[in-house]
């Protein structure tokens, strides 16, 4: 059954002002500029204020959205927050807190999705389907996963990579961009690859690299085949920004140039589920972006890709 009429109308981002400079960590981790520039690709990781909770990041993103477009709080009828670093203990769910802070209608459903780097693509499908099936018309999909809550500053695998940010995607019945097709994947047998132990993130970088480099191109090729589209026909491939080396590797394996595979790591780092919508935000109103593929992958292991088009 085709996915009808619910799609993306606008996207807004909140990027905290504070930064940690990776150049200040070179001596600690025994790395050089070449490694930072060609492999990590991150000059600064963004950091929320200590008093900023995950819900506050979402609210700030929504305030940016209000300044960008005609979204009205009274008309919001669906709120979903993608996060694995919720407010406090996670009870209540962060979307309920966001709902309260925004003063939304009590008839509005609000729930969280516990996903990481694949979360935006999963979230698009979930919200689109939920809204369509329940006759909703004004949905907000938030991504806010501040890994600063769990990153060990002495862990070379993670301290150079992850930044804090939040995004909000406004979904309506008058979309500018329409997700038309999705593929999903889970490899629970490798759940151990990225995990949080005693509130500290632990990542097997090699395992994440191997999984992503192999499985993401396979899924993207399958998605395009299903939709009758060739690799050369897509205008933009928006990959989760795991690291520069990972993005470059996947692009190379697909034979795509840097012009088709944008990156936004330098000034904030890997913002988990926010990395794809942050890239997409700049393309929402770009008429040259007619056929896009979004692909998120990571913790779970979980991955998902979507083919997105611009309705005439």
């Amino acid at each position: 059954m085709p996915i009808q009429n619910i799609g993306i109308s606008e996207i807004a981002t909140y990027l905290p002002e504070a930064r940690e400079a990776n150049r200040d960590k070179k001596e600690r981790f025994g790395i050089d500029d070449n490694f930072l520039n060609t492999k990590i690709g991150v000059d600064f990781v963004s950091r929320r204020r200590p008093d900023e909770e995950t819900s506050d990041l979402c609210v700030s993103a929504f305030q940016t959205l209000e300044r960008k477009c005609q979204v009205e709080r009274t008309k919001v009828d669906c709120v979903v927050v993608v996060t694995q670093n919720p407010d406090a203990s996670g009870i209540p769910h962060t979307s309920a807190i966001v709902h309260g802070k925004l003063g939304l209608d009590e008839n509005c459903p609000a729930f969280d999705l516990s996903l990481g780097c694949s979360g935006y693509v999963y979230g698009l499908s979930v919200v689109q389907s939920f809204m369509r099936d329940h006759g909703l018309s004004c949905g907000l999909l938030f991504t806010a996963d501040p890994y600063s809550k769990i990153v060990d500053p002495l862990d070379k695998n993670t301290a150079l990579l992850f930044g804090d940010a939040a995004t909000v995607t406004w979904l309506t019945r008058q979309p500018v961009l329409m997700p038309v097709s999705f593929l999903f994947g889970t490899r629970g047998s490798e759940w151990n690859t990225l995990k949080c132990v005693n509130h500290v993130l632990s990542m097997n970088g090699r395992a994440v690299f191997n999984f992503s480099a192999v499985e993401v191109p396979i899924q993207i090729r399958k998605l395009l085949e299903i939709n009758g589209i060739g690799l050369g026909e897509i205008d933009f491939l928006l990959l989760h920004q795991g690291s520069k080396y990972l993005v470059d590797t996947i692009a190379q394996r697909l034979g795509l140039s840097a012009g088709v595979v944008p990156s936004n790591l330098k000034n904030q780092g890997n913002t988990v589920s926010s990395s794809i919508p942050m890239l997409l935000e700049g393309l929402v109103h770009n008429p040259a972006a007619k056929r896009l593929v979004l692909s998120g992958f990571g913790v779970g292991l979980s991955w998902a890709s979507s083919y997105v088009t611009r309705p005439q």
Binding site: I31, F35, K39, N204, G205, R206, A207, F209, N210, A213, V214, S243, Y245, T249
Partner: protein
């Protein structure tokens, strides 16, 4: 399994790590001493896994610092 020899592994090394100077790197050269970092080595090992149809467990990675190490490792598999 694909034929394993120093030449084939060297080809894979140079393909995976294009920045490596061909004339200064041979079968006895240390990857780490020639500046290959963890991501380079991950990429190299993935290429070897894919071309030889094997999996190289994490606990074996530190043993593989030269082409000769890899040839001996693959031959033993």
């Amino acid at each position: 399994m694909k034929t394993v020899n120093a030449q084939s592994v060297l080809q894979t090394v140079h393909h995976s790590c294009p920045g490596l100077e061909a004339g200064k790197f041979n079968a006895k050269s240390s990857f780490r001493k020639h500046g290959l970092d963890s991501m380079d080595i991950a990429s190299l090992l993935l290429a070897l896994e894919e071309s030889h149809g094997i999996k190289i467990p994490d606990q074996d990675v530190d043993k593989l610092d030269t082409v000769e190490d890899i040839v001996a490792y693959l031959a033993a598999r």
